[in-house]
């Protein structure tokens, strides 16, 4: 059982204060002249690193309990959206094909649903070595228990080293249930993935609210589950010929029964979806009033762009949460993102990392966005935008 041991003799008063101050969870305190670690400890080991030997991690995790050579292959869960494959799926396949360059192994797609053979045949063009299909009337509509039974059946058959699932509403329900069935790890919303030669999946994601990145491994368990949001990775290219066969698998017995019965399926009215937008004009706290908003709207219209915002604009009620970019909002991947009066917290940046070209207009040269943007324009948007709009709307250029 790993736990922290404090060597009280190695402590100096200065070190005591440092350690109390640096614990991000406030779990270190001084009691009766002794430094103690409370129940708030999350074993982040910051104190071990900074403790000059006074804090020691004792009792390491048990050695590998899994034979990694028995687990090979990357499985991509191919979620359906209507009768087609969800657009996150070719992105996951694209990443899987990239991952196998450092650790050669097959890439498979797994489709679960009813009447989905056309979708499966189309999916075969995206580079997976095989597309496996569970197609049955019982799988019409998402039932977590039946879908978990199918994905688990696939895992037992093929022993993949990693399973990738889109971080959609369906994926966030299916992936944890299946991961728990195999008593294995699941890392949500990965923003970067790499694979080591021993098939360890290196999962990188923002942690602790988003201002820090964490590199997460699943060293002693297989398969390694991760979810990835739509528009984080690049799509695999569509090839003119299928890369592999479509293989039908029989409905596993475990999928026959379920504690859930789908009574009715209703369409959900389609809403603005900034995650699909090619061009985005995003506004933040620097846009202070209606006039600023109107300028942003005009710019969006002129560029044929979607209007989006940062978190404070949702909290203030000025915007619908569906237009929010960031870790707690949407991930976007436009070819152009113009950030107006946005400071660029890591929270926000986590949602815009995939933008090809970011232009930031901000009066504060020290705002984090100015280091993230491809073009950082230091100036007053209330002055720049009217002049720019006038030029665009007049439609003539006089290059200075």
């Amino acid at each position: 059982m790993p736990h922290l041991v404090i060597h009280q003799k190695k402590l100096t008063p200065a070190l005591v204060q440092t350690l109390i101050g640096l614990c991000p969870f406030g779990a270190i305190s001084e009691q009766n002249g002794q430094l103690v670690i409370g129940s708030g400890c999350r074993l982040c080991r910051q104190c071990v690193k900074a403790g000059e030997g006074a804090v020691e991690l004792c009792g390491d995790a048990p050695a590998a309990a899994v034979d990694k050579s028995l687990w090979r292959g990357i499985a991509v869960f191919a979620e359906l959206r209507g009768s087609e494959v969800h657009p996150v799926v070719p992105e996951l396949i694209g990443k899987a094909l990239e991952l196998r360059e450092s650790c050669p192994q097959p890439v498979w797609a797994v489709l679960v649903g009813h009447g989905c053979h056309d979708a499966a045949r189309e999916l075969a063009h995206y580079g997976a070595d095989a597309v496996y299909v569970y197609d049955d009337p019982l799988l019409d509509g998402f039932d977590p228990q039946r879908y978990t039974a199918c994905l688990s059946d696939f895992i037992v058959r093929q022993h993949p080293a990693a399973v990738m699932v889109g971080a959609t509403m369906l994926g966030r329900s299916l992936a944890p249930r299946t991961a728990a069935r195999f008593r294995t790890g699941l890392t949500a919303d990965c923003t970067r993935l790499e694979m080591r030669e021993n098939s360890d999946l290196v999962q990188i994601r923002p942690a602790f609210g988003g201002n820090i990145m964490a590199r997460i491994l699943t060293p002693h368990a297989r398969p390694q589950f991760c979810t990835v949001r739509y528009r984080v990775f690049d799509r695999a290219a569509r090839r003119s010929t299928p890369a592999g066969p479509v293989i039908s698998l029989p409905l596993p017995g475990a999928a026959l029964s379920s504690g859930t019965e789908i009574i009715k399926r209703l369409d959900r009215p389609q809403e603005v979806d900034i995650s699909e937008a090619e061009r985005i004009v995003a506004v933040g706290r620097g846009v202070r009033d209606q006039r600023g908003l109107e300028l942003a709207r005009r710019l969006a219209r002129a560029l044929d762009a979607q209007l989006a915002c940062s978190r404070p604009m949702v909290e203030s009620g000025a915007f619908d949460p569906r237009r929010q970019i960031g870790l707690s909002g949407r991930t976007v991947k436009p070819s152009l993102l113009i950030a107006l009066g946005i400071s660029g917290s890591v929270q926000f940046a986590a949602g815009m990392g995939g933008a090809e070209c970011i232009i930031a207009i901000n009066q504060d040269a020290a705002a984090p966005i100015m280091r993230l943007a491809h073009i950082a324009v230091e100036g007053d948007l209330y002055q720049i935008l009217p002049a720019l709009l006038e030029r665009i709307e007049k439609g003539e250029a006089t290059h200075a």
Partner: protein
């Protein structure tokens, strides 16, 4: 109907900073608060109790300070509150957290319905609910916006997916996670605060759980391990423009034109 609601105390602010020089987390001085998404889960449970009778129990795993979040639940109207608190739970990932919570539910139950919030504001992963359901071997539905009793040990639930809403009939016991903004959460009441003063939060340690194998919990029981935390790398600026606003506007116009983002 006996309902259990899983809650979490989260940092009062999500603005955790890291020192770019040392890579050390800067301490967040803010006090903890009840995860805002859990308020909708609690309200869902309270309103169901009002319709069909029964009890509402709040459960969390966390440090001793998390008692405050549980007291808040009691003041809002929970009948019972349980705190899973043990240093051997520390460093738990999703799997080890779900194990501890499902073991706590087994110990305190039986319950007809488990309700979780959609996600927490500090982890943002929205995974623990479905893992608990699997470990308890009961059906689950995520992002539920409406729930009603359907007789003979069953519930009707409306679960929200990306492009559709599924109306499902679930057999109890079952677990749902509550979609946000589906109701107006009640506030802690002063009267209840006074009435609840003798209701202590019940403390559970690892030794109280049905499965006392400590290798299942905390860091040892976690399948994932954080190898390193680091500040995000900031891309270097490719271009920095400053100067009179009119010139900046002209430069932007030329750039947009050049990149064929606008037409002349």
């Amino acid at each position: 109907m006996d309902i259990l609601v899983c809650i979490k105390q989260v940092p009062g602010s999500t603005n955790v900073q890291v020192d770019p020089e040392t890579g050390v987390l800067k301490r967040d001085s803010q006090k903890g608060k009840l995860n805002p998404y859990d308020l909708f889960a609690l309200e869902l449970a309270f309103s169901l109790r009002e319709r069909v009778g029964g009890t509402v129990t709040a459960l969390t795993m966390g440090p001793a300070q998390a008692e405050r979040a549980l007291l808040e639940c009691l003041y809002m109207g929970a009948d019972r509150a349980l705190l899973l608190c043990d240093r051997r739970f520390a460093g738990a990932d999703v799997l080890a957290t779900s194990r501890a919570l499902s073991a706590g539910i087994r110990r305190a139950g039986p319950f007809d319905l488990i309700v979780c919030g959609k996600q927490t504001t500090d982890g943002d992963t929205a995974q623990v609910g479905a893992e608990i359901a699997e470990l308890l071997d009961i059906p689950h539905a995520c992002n539920v916006r409406e729930i009603s009793p359907a007789g003979s040990g069953q519930l009707m639930a409306e679960t929200v997916l990306e492009r559709e809403i599924l109306c499902v009939r679930m057999s109890m016991p079952c677990l749902v996670t509550a979609e946000k903004d589906i109701n107006t959460p009640r506030l802690p009441s002063f009267v209840r605060k006074m009435a609840a003063s003798d209701k202590a939060v019940e403390l559970l340690t690892l030794d109280d759980l049905p499965d006392r194998d400590e290798r299942l919990y905390g860091l040892t029981g976690s399948a994932t391990q954080v190898e390193r935390i680091f500040p995000p790398d900031n891309e270097t600026v490719q271009e920095h423009w400053a100067g009179p606003n009119a010139e900046l506007a002209e430069k932007l116009y030329a750039f947009l034109l050049d990149a064929t983002l606008i037409e002349r």
